[in-house]
């Protein structure tokens, strides 16, 4: 049975507003030019991330609770309706069955996911559904997922989303600017988005599966951070390649470089393809090992995921009972 003393180490996450944002810095082309990424070496590191660290028993439960607190619970499907968006929000408010929370000794913890992430047209539904909680409403914007709409439309979409109550905006960058090395244009674009966001936090989606090389991922990360991103995010979930560890490692290292150069902390959001509790532990351990404990909190780390939560719930129940759990035993999103 769980050692409840350890589980209690899990704390309520602090609200986003408590933390200083990255205001951005002038474009430094040197930082882009000096990027060095050796893919083979990066892959060697990521291939042992999961094998160098093993998290078991109550420690694992604590980590999984932390993972839930970092989830942007997401639905971005063509068949979304107000009904399933509301259901998603309900799950965000009550991510884990009450008896499991009770069993883990966490009934006092107001456990909820960090945010819900929806399409523009469902912002209002989501805002209503999470009212009274600190769950953020994140909207994908700027012509998500491909971003192939006119610039003015993108800026207007951000403004509209903020006006509708979205507190976090997940923008997509123009991949063509990366592929053709137009760093100034990319910087200007993202900076304009950031201005349009105002108080809303901005997550810049690099769509790394379409950037061709890890060096491009690192370069785009730097430009997006210089332009004032609060988070950099791997994928839309619509590219052929989703969040994978080598890409994550490169982005996380860029975040560290940026912090060391400017003193500003930028968050990281891997999104797409993360479906198992075990994977979530590897990502969290990546953050802890490469950036430190602080980067394992929702103001600096998010999972963009839709089905991850269901697997974590099963693991938590297993942790509690020692029996392997089934999906149907947990309320769906």
């Amino acid at each position: 049975m769980a050692d409840q003393k350890n589980i209690k180490l899990v704390e309520q996450s602090q609200p986003m507003s408590d933390f200083e944002r990255n205001p951005g810095v002038p474009l430094e082309l040197d930082w882009v030019r000096d990027v060095r990424v050796n893919r083979s070496a990066v892959e060697r590191r990521t291939s042992t991330l999961g094998t160098r660290r093993s998290i078991k028993k109550t420690w694992q439960a604590a980590w999984l609770i932390k993972a839930i607190q970092c989830i942007d619970l997401t639905t971005l499907a063509g068949d979304d309706t107000p009904g399933n968006v509301a259901r998603l929000c309900a799950k965000a408010r009550n991510p884990v069955r009450a008896d499991v929370m009770q069993g883990l000794g966490l009934h006092d913890l107001q456990l909820q996911t960090a945010a819900v992430c929806v399409y523009h047209n469902f912002i209002e539904t989501a805002v209503r559904a999470v009212q009274g909680t600190s769950i953020q409403v994140a909207a994908v914007s700027t012509g998500f997922p491909a971003g192939s709409v006119p610039f003015e439309h993108k800026v207007r979409q951000i403004r509209d989303a903020v006006a509708l109550g979205a507190t976090e905006i997940d923008i997509v960058i123009s991949r063509n600017l990366v592929l053709t090395g137009q760093w100034q244009a990319l910087y200007d674009e993202v900076k304009a988005y950031r201005e349009a966001c105002g108080d809303a936090h901005m997550k810049s989606i690099l769509a790394t599966g379409e950037l061709a090389t890890l060096r491009n991922v690192a370069r785009a990360s730097h430009v997006c951070m210089m332009a004032g991103s609060d988070f950099i995010k791997t994928s839309t979930g619509k590219e052929a390649e989703n969040a994978v560890l080598p890409v994550g490692l490169v982005m996380v290292r860029a975040i560290r470089d940026f912090y060391q150069a400017t003193g500003y902390k930028v968050g990281f959001k891997p999104a797409g393809g993360i479906r198992t509790a075990k994977e979530s532990l590897v990502w969290l351990s990546l953050m802890k090992e490469e950036l430190g404990r602080e980067w394992c909190e929702p103001h600096l780390f998010r999972f963009g995921a839709s089905s991850l939560l269901a697997d974590i719930e099963r693991q938590l129940e297993h942790n509690l009972t020692g029996r392997y759990s089934a999906h149907h035993r947990h309320p769906m999103a």
Partner: protein, 779 residues
């Protein structure tokens, strides 16, 4: 968000130990046999001092029994043939895989290394070695045609990778049809004993593998056993020296894989974050107890501080503790003796003024643990920059330019491995051949595979393990059936009249010039009828010294293209051809050969030069098929400066064969020609001079052969010695070579029929070292 304990279960191992009542005998002839002395010694777990088992100490007569068992098993094992042996190797590989977790836990408990490493590296690689060599067993007849097993092989392995080193040794030995007596390290014998059980389980014929436990004396008994045909040793350079001396002159084949102080070179355009992880894998893998550990960090000056800061930050995240914990990076040092040695060297480093940095991470105070350590401000003259620490201690130095990086990298007695970090492939592939090391890893480190050869230059030993280059250590050419004894030399031609010519005393040939001997002395040379027929310079130790210096200075020969070397050799042949009759007359007069015989020797010499000229650009390296996304280039490199001591037999042909073989591969040579018939070689100076052979590539010192040979054998800057002569001198050469681990090739001069050589690669392998360069790719 702490990691918490994550222990691997040890219950299977505990049960196994209990089943054996924590006591083991010797594995001889397929059975478990108590040591005759009844002596036992304890084996402890270094993590907590726990007594794991009592092991038997094999004495001389136990070792003798094991060797006898191996000898007895040899004929049937060889008769089994390629496919028959391949089946056994395959079965062993499968069994290792099936019991992999058991082996991983046992190894971790016995050695103290983290379970992550035994589970993910040691044991899978051990299985891979047997799989790979299953294939070599299968292919031996076709890929190593003309070769056969050496015989009974004595193998002595270290404690740092117990089962893996066992596999590196046993797999190729068995594949090539040898039988084995293996002595594991006294600290870590348990996986070898479990392996013995595995041999029983697969039904390996008794005596094919024998395991004798014990310490240095047991090893000495094996090394000195008269009926052992080869010794393969991995361990310290000091013990390697003892073995080299002990086996000198015995005719035992020998391969040594010894210590290192391997450079880890970081250029300013490297991916520094990846470099940091490389450093972790280089020096904090297996607690730094790795012969090829990247223990000397050479970093370009302008990025040194940045890199040190990043390394320190990373060190804070290393977890030290219980080796069986699945979230531990650094386990226990193998034994208190070793721990004391590390402490002593670190203290010395501090005393000598280098800056020591250790992380704040907790390091257990019970058990044999040592924290990861970084020394900065180290200079090449510091003891810790020269001595192998064999612990988790990295010493860092800076360099300014690529050539200074190479100079620092090579400023060591060792030459095992090197790691080069840069995003510039031009730079990487420029540096790789310049670094003296058997393995060079580009943008990676400590990558191993059965398909790639591993072994050292210089005092890191000789011979390779893995790949086809490793197989040569376990084979010998088929013994030719002794043909009908050659008819005692045909009647000597009639004595030619002596003619009064212009007085001519041949000089020495050093650095492309004919020079007078330092001692201003000469020796009288007799012809075949015992008449004085001329004089040659009597070279002395200083002449040898000068010759070696000139040979070193002629580096350009090694760097030039093989096409160019071939051209020069063809030109030598051409010029010899124009003087064919003159050389034939000389041979006839000096050796009493008939005209036909003498002309034949000259003609064969010309052909021989052609053969090696042909090989100059055809003795290719390989690209090994290692299971990574990378190119593993096995490059043949010149040994360097080779001393060649020619036999009296076939004085011209033997000279031409050995010298052209050596220089075709880019070596420079110092030759001592036949003492009885030197004049035919001093005549050859003019051929060399007219053939564009650059000065210093071939240096010839005449004089008393034994005297000069000893000087060469004791010269620390001579990389190899080829000697064709008497057994007593052969022994002296091998003995003396232990000092600097020269590559020696000693053979009785009459053993080789110089007119019948058809296996040229046999010479070329002696003229080269295989360097494996790992080049991962991917963007």
């Amino acid at each position: 968000m702490e990691y918490g304990p994550a222990p691997e279960s040890r219950s299977d191992v505990d049960r196994w130990l209990a089943d054996h009542k924590a006591s083991f005998d010797l594995f001889i002839d397929g059975s478990w046999i108590a040591a005759k002395s009844g002596n036992k010694f304890p084996s402890h777990s270094p993590a907590n001092g726990e007594l794991l088992a009592q092991l038997s100490e094999a004495g001389k007569s136990d070792v003798d029994d094991a060797v006898k068992a191996a000898r007895k098993a040899l004929p049937a094992w060889q008769k089994l043939g390629c496919h028959g042996r391949a089946r056994y190797l395959y079965a062993i590989a499968r069994h290792i895989q099936k019991k992999s977790r058991f082996f991983a836990v046992l190894e971790s408990m016995d050695n103290g290394k983290p379970i992550r490493e035994t589970r993910d590296i040691d044991i899978p690689l051990a299985a891979r070695h047997f799989y790979h060599h299953t294939g070599w067993a299968q292919l031996m007849d076709s890929e190593l045609a003309g070769y056969e097993a050496v015989g009974v092989v004595g193998q002595i392995i270290p404690w740092n990778f117990p089962l893996l080193m066992l596999s590196w040794k046993i797999a190729p030995a068995l594949a090539m049809g040898n039988t084995v007596v293996m002595k594991p390290a006294e600290f870590t014998s348990l996986t070898a004993l479990a392996f013995a059980e595995l041999c029983q389980a697969v039904g390996l014929p008794p005596g094919v593998v024998n395991i004798v436990t014990g310490a240095g004396e047991t090893g000495a008994a094996l090394v000195n056993h008269e009926d052992v045909n080869k010794i393969a040793f991995t361990g310290s350079t000091d013990v390697g020296r003892i073995i080299r001396r002990a086996t000198a002159g015995t005719g035992k084949k020998l391969s040594l894989e010894l210590g290192g102080k391997s450079p880890f070179i970081v250029f300013d355009d490297a991916d520094l974050d990846s470099v940091v992880e490389g450093v972790v894998d280089a020096i904090w893998f297996n607690q730094g107890q790795v012969c090829c550990a990247g223990s000397r960090l050479l970093v370009q000056e302008n990025i040194a501080e940045t890199l040190y800061e990043r390394i320190k930050a990373r060190m804070e995240n290393l977890r030290i503790g219980d080796p069986l914990d699945k979230a531990v990076d650094i386990g226990a040092i193998v034994d208190p003796i070793q721990l004391a040695r590390i402490r002593e060297l670190v203290d010395l480093g501090v005393a000598e003024g280098s800056q020591l940095w250790q992380p704040s991470t907790p390091c257990p105070t019970e058990g044999c643990f040592y924290p990861p350590s970084l020394f900065t401000g180290v200079s090449p003259s510091s003891t810790i920059a020269q001595e192998e620490i064999f612990g988790p201690v990295l010493v860092a130095m800076t360099f300014r330019t690529p050539s200074e990086a190479v100079a620092l990298a090579n400023n060591t007695r060792y030459g095992l491995a090197a790691s080069i970090w840069t995003e510039n492939i031009n730079l990487a592939l420029d540096i790789a051949p310049k670094v003296i090391a058997g393995t060079v890893w580009i943008n990676c480190t400590n990558a191993f595979d059965a398909a790639s050869g591993f072994g050292g230059y210089r005092e890191s030993g000789f011979g390779r393990e893995g790949g086809i280059e490793g197989l040569w250590e376990y084979v010998k050419p088929h013994q030719r059936k002794p043909g009908p004894a050659k008819k005692a030399s045909k009647s000597k031609p009639s004595k030619p009249p002596m003619r009064m010519g212009i007085d001519r005393t041949a000089k020495l040939y050093i650095g492309g010039k004919q020079v007078r001997p330092d001692g201003a002395n000469s020796l009288i040379v007799k012809d075949a009828w015992g008449r004085d027929c001329g004089e040659v310079g009597r070279g002395n130790r200083k002449d040898i010294r000068n010759a070696v210096e000139k040979a070193h200075a002629a580096k350009a020969w090694t760097k030039t293209t093989s096409h160019h070397r071939a051209q020069v050799l063809y030109y030598v042949a051409e010029n010899l051809e124009t003087r064919r009759d003159e050389f034939a007359r000389r041979l006839s007069a000096l050796c009493g050969l008939g005209q036909v015989e003498a002309e034949l020797e000259v003609d064969l010499s010309i052909q021989r030069i052609f053969s090696f000229a042909a090989y100059a650009d055809k003795y290719d390296g390989r690209v090994h098929q290692t299971p990574f996304r990378n190119v593993t280039l096995a490059m043949n490199e010149a040994v360097g400066v080779i001393g060649v001591i020619c036999p009296d037999e076939s004085p011209l042909l033997a000279f031409v064969t050995t010298v052209s073989a050596a220089i075709s591969m880019g070596n420079r040579v110092v030759v001592i020609p036949s003492e009885a018939h030197p004049l035919v070689i001093t005549d050859f100076y003019q051929v060399l001079e007219t053939s564009d052979v650059p000065g210093g590539v071939v240096n010839i010192v005449t004089g008393h052969r034994d005297e000069l040979t000893e000087v060469l054998a004791n010269h620390d800057d001579v990389d190899g010695i080829w000697y064709f002569g008497e057994a007593a001198m052969a022994r002296k050469i091998e003995y003396a070579s232990a000092e600097t681990m020269k590559r020696t090739w000693v053979e009785s001069g009459s053993n080789i029929d110089w007119s019948q050589i058809d296996n040229y690669p046999r010479f070329l392998r002696r003229a080269t070292e295989v360097k494996n360069i790992w080049v991962p790719y991917g963007e």
